[in-house]
Symmetry: C2
Subunit: 424 residues, 2 copies
């Protein structure tokens, strides 16, 4: 009964606030290596260099309408004469450039998006015109005055040459791709996905495809963590489980810390006897950053560092493991991708139901977000804390319940952290 | 000047409301083919079959604490005697099954998550106990009464055997993976990603890696659409641009409609002369569903069907193209993935700034979501409507502005549609 003599130390860990732990970790997350990839493969990746506009946009005076390019001065007589007639001297589809400048008394048929010809200073909508043929000459008739510049987008109206279009750390989605393609950026420099090693610990765990055995449960945390790593922008590597042998665990974890950008483990940090990760971080093989956080679930969440690489030793409880990842590992991954907003988005919401659990630590309660008539409500998951079978999948936020001596009543304003990679 | 004779027809299209167009399209989006993939590759995919619990969870009476498994009746004397001493007869780590039943006067050291031994009906927390050795026998001392069932999670507490865990159409994320792994589902049946062909039209377009040419702009829509297809759950295939030759366009598009699950084009639907897609859907090669929607931007958004396959002919204007995809194509893709919520999430929000544009059609204005003190605000993008260079990438919602004769003032409640794949 070896554990008993260690129990005192294990119980008397010094709890750190979540924010303090995040601040301890922050210096270890630095933008990582980069790679160049084709634009069409860049969806979801993170830009590693700023992108400047190589030319103004639009590059030419662009027609905003289907209609006729004219000189606005020709319409000054509108109002005194019923219709002004202009000779149509050209037709300019998109992508064509007219070599016929517009002089007084002339016009050119022009399409939306086409380059406005020399001499013209306005485009009149097709719907506001009429047509006639006079001696084989097509003429367009106008009835109203048109001001100069009408329906012409000037050069550089949307973007000036040299302007910063996108900053490093920006995730590439449809809007970013539209910008990059518009400026001919067909190869983009992105951050390499950080490679995150994942271990489970504990001989009680069956792999997902082993037959069931009495008393044992399946290892679900490594697969869940792999999914969280992907959602955060990293590349997961599920390694073999670490069994309850300290020296073997040490060598496996240290090897992984050398090879990967960070190591995440689940389990082995509780005050039970086989807290192999707890023993490891208390050894002199690594420098412990913290081994207790003032939060529920997951107060045993632990972190250590060796040669500048992080080891995140998360709780084996699936709910605590999930929360520990989102609060501590995800920000690390986001930082290696250049993000300047590494933490989950925080909103204020109205608590929808009484929250009755009492705790000296801040609780991160899984819950759902609902918006009713413009107001954000947070609905805590109703089941027992350890019942994560249902609540992780059905949660889209963590509700932050500060240390409370009594009920936190429905209607109270609470902080919530958005889950599921929401970038809102 | 061929276009002029067609202009009347093109101007006098019958506009359909967005909702009516969505209803016309709905019957063509049906759950598609399925495939079986390993659990670890399933992140982001959509489940194609219901998953039932093959066994209750927990499968055994589970200890919720590190401590001692006891008979609660043994603690009845607490209060009359200062300490009750029980003989510790076993130590049960996680994953082990004890063969020593707990009888009166005995206890077993047990770890969180381990199977509670026969005879025991409660677990007392380690922190509430003391230890002593008496004649070589370890004894645990208790000072307080413990009620029956304390710190034991009963069989099936979280999930009953046979319970539906996950329904088809559910996107697999961390929480779903946790559930699947816990029940040993190592191969999952998911919907195949629908294969979406993407064409651009118009000879004015340069590919992203061509040198610039006067009057021409780059094709950015196909890359943007490919990113939108991926975000919606589909697999994009960028095909060669369709030039301004109707019979060639017909054969290319029809071929793609046979080979892929749907075809999306951008451009060629305006009232300009080379509206090749407009001509195609008016031909008898396909059945037109609609060619005008009562919305801005993108009123020329068009759809047709042939042999049960959809052709989405979106506007060539990048902003209109983006919105057309989100309103019409995304729901189709989501339906083929079994989703019962194929449309963008709709919230009510407070308009943060006056919206001054007047229009007979409903506007879908790109904007940002902000939550302040629990209230959702929608901030319309401030630039000219066609300036999508900035606004698509900086938008996380579409603000729905109904047809208005005047200003929609700040403070008004408006509907917003969440973008960027938000599942909130």
């Amino acid at each position: 009964m070896k554990q008993m003599k260690d129990d005192y130390d294990k119980f008397h860990r010094k709890p750190l606030q979540v924010r303090s732990a995040q601040e301890l970790l922050a210096p270890f997350g630095k933008p990582g290596l980069t790679e160049r990839i084709p634009l069409q493969d860049s969806h979801g990746r993170y830009l590693a260099v700023p992108v400047h506009a190589p030319h103004p946009f639009p590059r030419f005076r662009r027609s905003g309408m289907d209609g006729y390019a004219i000189r606005s001065s020709d319409t000054e007589a509108c109002g005194t004469e019923p219709v002004i007639w202009l000779n149509v001297i050209d037709e300019i589809p998109c992508g064509s450039v007219s070599d016929k400048p517009i002089s007084a008394g002339t016009a050119a048929r022009i399409m939306t998006g086409a380059q406005v010809p020399e001499g013209a200073d306005a485009v009149v909508m097709l719907e506001m015109t009429e047509l006639r043929e006079t001696d084989g000459q097509t003429q367009v008739g106008l009835k109203r005055r048109i001001e100069t510049g009408k329906n012409i987008t000037p050069i550089g109206f949307e973007v000036q040459e040299g302007e910063v279009l996108l900053r490093p750390g920006r995730q590439i989605q449809a809007g970013e791709i539209s910008v990059l393609a518009s400026f001919g950026v067909h190869q983009v420099t992105v951050y390499r996905k950080p490679r995150i090693a994942i271990f489970s610990t504990g001989s009680e765990l069956l792999t997902v495809d082993e037959p069931l055995q009495p008393g044992k449960i399946r290892n679900s945390n490594t697969y869940m963590l792999a999914s969280q790593v992907r959602a955060a922008g990293g590349e997961p590597f599920i390694l073999e489980a670490v069994m309850d042998d300290l020296s073997l665990a040490q060598s496996k974890v240290e090897e992984a810390m050398q090879e990967y950008d960070a190591v995440v483990t689940s389990g082995g940090v509780s005050v039970g006897d086989y807290d192999i990760m707890g023993d490891l971080v208390r050894s002199d093989h690594v420098d412990m950053l913290y081994n207790k956080i003032a939060m529920r679930p997951g107060s045993v969440t632990t972190a250590a560092v060796k040669d500048g690489k992080l080891l995140f030793a998360l709780s084996g409880n699936p709910g605590a493991c999930f929360v520990g990842f989102e609060l501590f590992v995800r920000p690390f991954i986001q930082r290696t991708l250049g993000s300047d907003k590494p933490y989950l988005t925080e909103w204020t919401a109205v608590l929808d139901q009484d929250y009755t659990k009492v705790n000296a630590f801040t609780r991160y309660v899984r819950g759902r977000v609902e918006v009713r008539d413009g107001m954000v409500y947070a609905i805590p998951a109703k089941v027992d804390e350890s019942s994560v079978m249902v609540t992780i999948k059905d949660s889209d936020c963590l509700i932050v319940i500060p240390p409370a001596k009594g009920v936190t009543p429905a209607g109270d304003k609470v902080k919530i952290l958005l889950l599921k990679g929401s970038t809102l």
